[in-house]
Symmetry: C2
Subunit: 208 residues, 2 copies
């Protein structure tokens, strides 16, 4: 990824927060059929692994060798930035459009896990994380489903772990702009409903 | 991509609309350094090509041979679907969580273009599309910037075209659920601000 120093995200907490807030990763691999991507919610297991699961019917686990290189791409909000959003445009007009976004790339080796214990762990961790967020005290639990039904569903999935050997993260948040211009862009993104990115831009402006 | 028939998106208008509404693509390629992804706004040129531009400083145009295979991934909104959102959960509890999303994959050959005319076309088309959308009658035009500044900016980018040989699109919108359950999920996604996806789900429910 093209990654100028001023857009390089090295804050581990920010990277972890982005993954947790936007868990649906594009998991990319090279197979005999060329490049393939699957969209899979992943959860981080510390700073060295990502855990997920796919349908047994998904050929990915049959088309990749154990330990094959994959790239998991997480992406937060994004938005077009018009020169009109910069107050200094009226002064010198030396601006062009750009795009702001936050992404995290995790490169690593994928290994599929067919044992029920690994599948239960992958499905259970993701369910707990998401239910705590969206359902709170009314969180749906796996035990809420009838046992026979749950067993059938678990039989239909495969778990996997990506052992991450390289992280790369980019926060393109107008860091290369004057504070008043960055503020103008952040205000417009917030108005467009991109609260997470507007908040990240506000933090960048505060840090200066 | 794992693509069961009921999630296969074959409506060319829906695919074009998704690309236009969510232009920031993850452009994935295989280089000598392994898998790389760059996040680049693209515009469709009919049904057979995608057009974009990158910074001259981005090594992508130096690391890919002319005609190299790339995968451009467009993604719309996405959301976790809790079993709690399905009214029939209370009846039989035979539900598990899932994730809804819309994606478009374009596979094709990339060719970089260094002539000023191609660069002007790529930058100009994207600017017009985005400014018409976000600025309307106050659209920023390239001619608003001083000539010398604009020339310097254009010197710093490279255009490219992806000749698309295969489209693959997936609209995972609860098509495999009963209408009342799909409606419950759509209502929750709308409440979470995912209007585009909620609208697409409503269209699926109407079609039956």
């Amino acid at each position: 990824m093209y990654l100028p120093d001023h857009f390089c995200e090295e804050d581990a907490a920010e990277i972890a927060a982005l993954i947790a807030a936007f868990p649906l990763a594009a998991v990319v691999a090279t197979t005999a059929d060329g490049l393939v991507a699957n969209h899979i919610p992943l959860i981080a297991d510390g700073e060295t692994a990502l855990i997920g699961h796919i349908a047994l019917a998904n050929d990915l686990h049959r088309s990749l060798a154990d330990g094959a290189e994959v790239l998991a791409i997480f992406r937060g909000e994004d938005g077009y930035i018009s020169p009109n959003l910069y107050p200094t445009k009226a002064v010198h007009h030396r601006h062009v459009p750009t795009w702001n976004y936050q992404v995290v790339h995790a490169h690593g080796a994928i290994r599929f896990r067919y044992e029920r214990k690994a599948i239960m762990a992958a499905v259970g961790k993701l369910t707990r994380q998401m239910e705590d967020r969206v359902s709170g005290p009314n969180a749906w639990r796996m035990a809420d489903a009838p046992r026979d039904y749950l067993e059938t569903m678990l039989d239909a999935v495969v778990a996997f772990e990506i052992a991450v050997d390289r992280w790369q993260a980019k926060s393109k948040l107008s860091q290369n702009r004057k504070p008043e211009d960055a503020r103008g862009a952040a205000t417009a993104l917030e108005a467009a409903g991109h609260d997470v990115m507007a908040c990240a831009m506000a933090a960048v402006i505060r840090k200066g």
